[in-house]
Amino acid sequence: MGGLAVRVDGLSFTYAGSPFPALREVSLKIERGEFIIITGPSGCGKSTLCRCLNGLIPHFYPGKMEGNVEVFGMNTRFYTPKHLARFVGLVFQNPENQLFSLSVEGDVAFGPENLGFPREETVKRVEEALSLMGLKEVRDRAPYELSGGQQQRAAIASILAMRPEMVVLDEPTSFLDPRSSLDIIEAISFLNRRLGITVVLVEHRLDIASRFADKIYILDEGRIVDEGPPHQVYGRRETLLLGVGVPRISLLFQLLRERGIPVKEIPLTVKEGAEKLEAFLVDRN
């Protein structure tokens, strides 16, 4: 399905009591089905932008908002987070803050029950979400008994049960060990490719996620300062100077380029990088 998932127009926001705006004249468009990464130095406004995408701003955070945010054609000024929850699911850093039931199943059922779906529909959605996230075997366990990775899967499943068109994830792997982080990012990419769910991922650690992204936005002091496909953005010197944690493999190629080695495209994965280097080394010898 074509069309726009998100249209942000001249958005500025200042939290009540804060001396400076968290977002300044941000404009962007996200197509349906895209996988977007938003990154930038800490305090740049990433989390604030997330809160604007499901209506938490302006409905729950007091402050001054200018400009407009439209999500699937709905202006967030006029639609509440409850209404938007059917379209946009938000996943936070720490799954502990998102899970509160005594069983995984209970947590996953909470959304559809709360939206007032009939029992059969809720059951259907819970089954679907549990199986998508590979949680069927632990459905009766309490969330706190699960590993960190399973907890984050449960948090994502509880969002999926509302069958959103888009998921917004705010550093979803920060609290996870490296292996589980990789699993979660792969699971998110699966939702994007197989189900066409639009993904907006806010991340500092770009080493794992970059290869899945269509486009990356860089925010600095509340403004969008760069955007484009990751291999282009990572090839620019300014990106590094801003403090964007580009994947080490991309950084390596940028350093090689600066030292006069003719690197055409910056790789995003180790495999790509190894192939490029092989080609160079074979040329030489």
């Binding site: 800490s42 305090g43 060990d177 944690g245 090689l256 080695i261 080394l281 030489r284």
Partner: protein, 273 residues
């Protein structure tokens, strides 16, 4: 020195979180604790300042058995910065938050003021000194939590996941900062899932799994070992993985950081046919 001998810890619900842990951490040492979620990393560091007392075995800080010491007295030596800063804050401004420990330890006013300004500067927090700590971004909160512990200058500094929410420049600053502390003879222990950060810092790495130490050694050996990385639920730093793929071109297997890799590649490129 922190000495841990035969440490076991069982939570009241019966879960054995640590099992026969033996570890010595010396002055001027930089150590990273890694391992899967639930491996026992946080449980272990809570023994350093007496928040938890061993079920079996012994933990000594500078020769003193932690079983006989209060958290308050151990805290002067061992500063713990927790993963979630919200659990640590309770003051109305960043300045008060950072002053709190010093006030509690009874330092005179003018010294506190000086010291607080110093750490605010060190951690790039000056502009937030009068803000509420709760109003800051995740990354900024982490720095306030670190500042509030650094303020009283503990000999052992223990940081639980310090890089969460920090951008690359902040991480670089944190790394330099840790190195500076080490050269002053302090001891820094970092609990981290951030493989790339650890690869850049190159500390001694201890890997925990299911409450036991499964590996202990320098970062370039631990993080380039497929076996340890697999058992510890880690992933290999991208550079180490690259070096493995290019092994047949004679690249050294234990390179884990981007700058050394860059030099190695240049060496081979400039050799010419």
């Amino acid at each position: 020195m922190i000495e841990i001998e035969g440490l076991a810890f069982k939570y009241p619900n019966g879960v054995l979180a640590l099992d026969d842990v033996n570890l010595k951490i010396g002055e001027g040492e930089f150590l990273a604790l890694m391992g899967e979620n639930g491996a026992g990393k946080t449980t272990l560091i809570k023994h350093f300042n007496g928040l938890l007392k061993p079920t079996a075995g012994v933990v000594r800080v500078d020769g003193l058995d932690t079983r006989h010491l209060s958290v308050a007295s151990l805290s002067r030596k061992v500063g713990l910065v927790f993963q979630n800063p919200d659990h640590q804050f309770f003051c109305e401004t960043v300045r008060e938050e950072i002053s709190f420990g010093l006030l509690n330890f009874g330092y005179p006013r003018h010294m506190i003021e000086k010291r607080v300004n110093q750490v605010l500067r060190m951690l790039d927090l000056e502009r937030y000194s009068e803000s509420s700590p709760f109003a800051l971004s995740g990354g900024e909160k982490k720095r306030v939590a670190l500042a509030s512990v650094l303020a009283w200058n503990p000999k052992y500094l223990v940081l639980d996941e310090p890089t969460i929410g920090q951008d690359a420049l902040q991480k670089e600053r944190l790394r330099n900062f840790i190195i500076q502390l080490i050269t002053q003879g302090k001891c820094v222990v970092v609990v981290s899932h951030d493989v790339e950060f650890v690869a850049e810092c190159k500390p001694r790495v201890v890997v925990l799994s299911k409450g036991r130490i499964i590996a202990d050694g320098p970062a370039h050996k631990i993080l380039s070992s497929e076996e340890v990385v697999g058992r510890g639920s880690l992933i290999m730093p991208q550079i180490a993985e690259l070096m493995k793929l290019l092994k047949k071109h004679g690249f050294p297997a234990e390179v884990i950081d981007v700058y050394t890799a860059c030099m190695e590649i240049q060496k081979r490129m400039s050799r010419g046919p």
